[in-house]
């Protein structure tokens, strides 16, 4: 696995009762230190792939390795090294922001002093310092997204997996999240960024893959891919060229 932090080999997954596989014979490599954009329309299989990487779903066939550990055999060890911000707001609405972060930090096994330091650091970065003792249910969508992201970072993971991290947020929150991701990129942190916001992907991703109907359509460096497709002015053109213009629900 030459420099690859994630290696996906011929992975397929079909849910019980589904007509089509969610992921079909997918091969993918994510290099260490890259910001990897996983792009695709709704229902393309992005979230399924994220769940497979975390070991929360078992592939029907194929294998996945994360940081040289095989998913399925070493899922617990893998989860210790990855931070996942799921698409849904995975927080307790009736707890305050501080209580949420403190609880999740404790569940990661962090000691009080380390946890306090990290919480302070991240809430300042994400501009939530004044809201720490407010209940999450009173937060705006953007504030919840930011908090959702912080909860994934508390244990200082080597690989960060973000599933639609900017879905449903205002421009300010989106900008704040993207700025933060760019700062992580400059520090060499590996990020798997699953989204259907192509402008964002173009702005921060060093590598990307476009998937649709569970299949890998294209993968590579954005500029190279655009160079290979001169008829496409940007990623959106490339995306539509590859996935078609049919509506997805």
């Amino acid at each position: 696995m030459s420099g690859a932090i994630v290696q996906i080999d011929n992975v397929s997954k079909q849910y019980k009762g589904a007509q089509q596989p969610a992921i079909s014979h997918l091969n993918l490599e994510i290099q260490k230190g890259s910001v990897f954009g996983l792009l695709g329309p709704n229902g393309a299989g992005k979230s399924t792939l994220v769940m497979l990487l975390c070991g929360l779903l078992r592939p029907d066939e194929g294998s996945i390795q994360v940081m040289d550990l095989k998913v399925g055999e070493s899922s617990a060890a893998i989860r210790e090294k990855i931070g996942v911000a799921p698409q849904e707001i995975a927080l307790f609405p009736t707890l305050t922001a501080h209580e949420n972060l403190f609880y999740f930090g404790r569940m990661y096994g962090l000691q009080t002093d380390v946890l306090k330091k990290r919480i302070d650091e991240y809430v300042n970065t994400f501009g939530l310092q004044d809201k720490m003792h407010k209940r999450v249910q009173t937060f705006s969508g953007g504030m919840k997204r930011r908090l959702n992201l912080i909860a994934a970072l508390l244990h200082d993971p080597s690989l960060i997996i973000l599933d639609e991290p900017t879905a449903g947020v205002d421009v300010q929150s989106r900008n704040m999240i993207l700025e933060f991701l760019l700062s992580l990129k400059s520090k060499g942190v590996t990020i798997l960024y699953s989204s259907h916001f192509l402008e964002e992907a173009e702005r921060i991703c060093t590598h990307l893959a476009i998937v649709d109907e569970g299949k890998l359509l294209i993968t590579g460096i954005p500029q190279v891919l655009l160079g290979e497709n001169p008829d496409c002015k940007n990623l959106e053109d490339l995306f539509l060229k590859r996935t078609g213009k049919t509506m997805r629900d």
Binding site: G55, V84, E88, M107
Partner: protein, 423 residues
């Protein structure tokens, strides 16, 4: 550390849920008080019930006077005189009085004559000369009892037997007196012996207990407080399951699934917290039984002497209730499924366990099935401790069953929860 964090998190979630708090603490308190009040009368036996009885005394002679005195001295019956038989029948039929006792005119004289004839016949058969009494045998003396059609069978039986007992005592007294009277007639003069049938033999009734002087009778409070406390403890599944499923639906459970090694602390923390809540419920309900019930005119809850046994039983019931709640929470996928199944199953288990009516009044088939209800195990232990002053060894079989039930449900919950992390 992780378990402690989960316990604290569960505490915060519960205290910020006023509905859940009310369901856990206020509803059971209201339930136990209401049930104890409602079931107070049915639980009181004949000895404790005051019955109002009409006496239509057309006889107005020694027999009717003796019956009246005996009934009034029982302490449970209030005798009200009524002269009009027809009116008395209407009052009893309307349920204003539980029964009426009708002594027709001349009842005393008829009974006396019947007694004289009987004794005279006996003595003459023995060859002793006695003054000849009317040789035409008098018919059996009749005393009429009319009951309210809605009277409970046991009250009817007790009242009827009570009257028969009084009449039997009067008869035996008169027989002895008549015997002495006829034997001492003529030349034979013997001093008469005053006879009281009650002096012959006393039936001593008491509860089989190490401390018989303490009042240990089963009453509404002794039954309802432990019974409905356990019912409330098993209803812990409501907040437990709804919080658990809410966490799953809202996504916070997903994050916990993404944290390595968090599953055991999540289950153990929830179990520990809700077990503690169960214990708190138990203490509150027992306190209500001791301090609140008497102020409502009910009996005071008597705990017996085995505090350690009570603690062991309460802990084992709490563990069983929490384990069951946890199993329901992890097994069902929607709150509707979990709460519907959970509440109905607890009602069934409690009915079978003797919470609503004692197991011994159930049909034999249900009595057999009730042996599998954890609430029956708990209730039996509490009854043994509260009413029979049982030692810890005596309650051990039931507490072991409860703890085994708890461990089985806890392990099943953990395995089901873990199996759903990866699909």
């Amino acid at each position: 550390m992780k378990i402690r964090a989960t316990i604290f998190k569960e505490f915060l979630l519960l205290v910020r849920d006023p509905g859940g708090m009310a369901l856990i603490f206020l509803m059971p308190l209201a339930l136990v008080i209401v049930m104890a009040l409602i079931q107070d009368a049915p639980f009181r036996d004949y000895q404790e019930i005051k019955l109002e009885v009409l006496l239509v005394d057309q006889d107005n002679d020694s027999l009717s006077h003796k019956i009246k005195r005996a009934l009034e001295s029982s302490g449970n019956i209030t005798v009200v005189n009524e002269t009009d038989l027809e009116r008395a029948n209407k009052l009893v039929q309307a349920g204003d009085f539980k029964a009426s006792i009708v002594l027709r005119k001349g009842t005393t004289q008829s009974l006396k004559k019947k007694t004289e004839q009987l004794i005279g016949k006996i003595i003459r058969n023995m060859g002793v000369e006695t003054p000849l009494i009317d040789s035409v045998e008098a018919p059996a003396v009749q005393l009429d009892l009319y009951f309210d059609p809605a009277i409970k069978v046991n009250y009817k039986q007790a009242l009827g037997e009570g009257i028969e007992k009084i009449v039997a005592q009067v008869q035996s007294e008169w027989i002895i007196m008549e015997l002495q009277s006829q034997l001492s007639s003529g030349e034979n003069k013997y001093p008469k012996v005053k006879f009281n049938p009650g002096d012959m033999m006393v039936v001593n009734q008491q509860y089989a207990s190490d401390k018989p002087k303490e009042r240990l009778a089963l009453n509404s409070v002794q039954h309802n407080v432990p019974a409905w406390t356990m019912f409330a403890m098993f209803f812990i599944l409501f907040p437990l399951a709804s919080n658990f499923i809410k966490e799953r639906e809202e996504g916070s459970m997903l994050r916990l699934r993404l944290i390595s090694g968090s599953q055991f602390p999540v289950i153990a923390g929830k179990f520990s917290f809700y077990f503690f809540v169960c214990m708190l419920q138990f203490v509150l309900m027992i306190a209500v039984g001791i301090f609140v019930m008497p102020s409502l005119g009910l009996n005071k809850l008597i705990l017996g002497n085995n505090v350690f046994g009570i603690l062991v039983t309460a802990c084992s019931v709490g563990m069983a209730a929490t384990g069951y709640g946890l199993l329901i929470a992890v097994f069902f996928k929607t709150p509707q499924q979990a709460l519907s199944f959970g509440s109905i199953s607890v009602v069934i288990l409690s009915a079978l366990g003797g919470v609503w009516v004692p197991v011994y009044v159930m049909p034999e088939v249900l009595q057999t099935i009730s042996k599998f209800s954890p609430l029956q195990w708990g209730l039996e232990s509490f009854t043994d401790l509260f009413l029979r002053n049982a030692n810890t060894l005596a309650i051990l079989p039931n507490t072991i069953k409860l703890m085994t039930f708890s461990f089985v449900t806890l392990i099943a919950s953990f395995l089901i929860h873990k199996s759903r992390i990866i699909s």
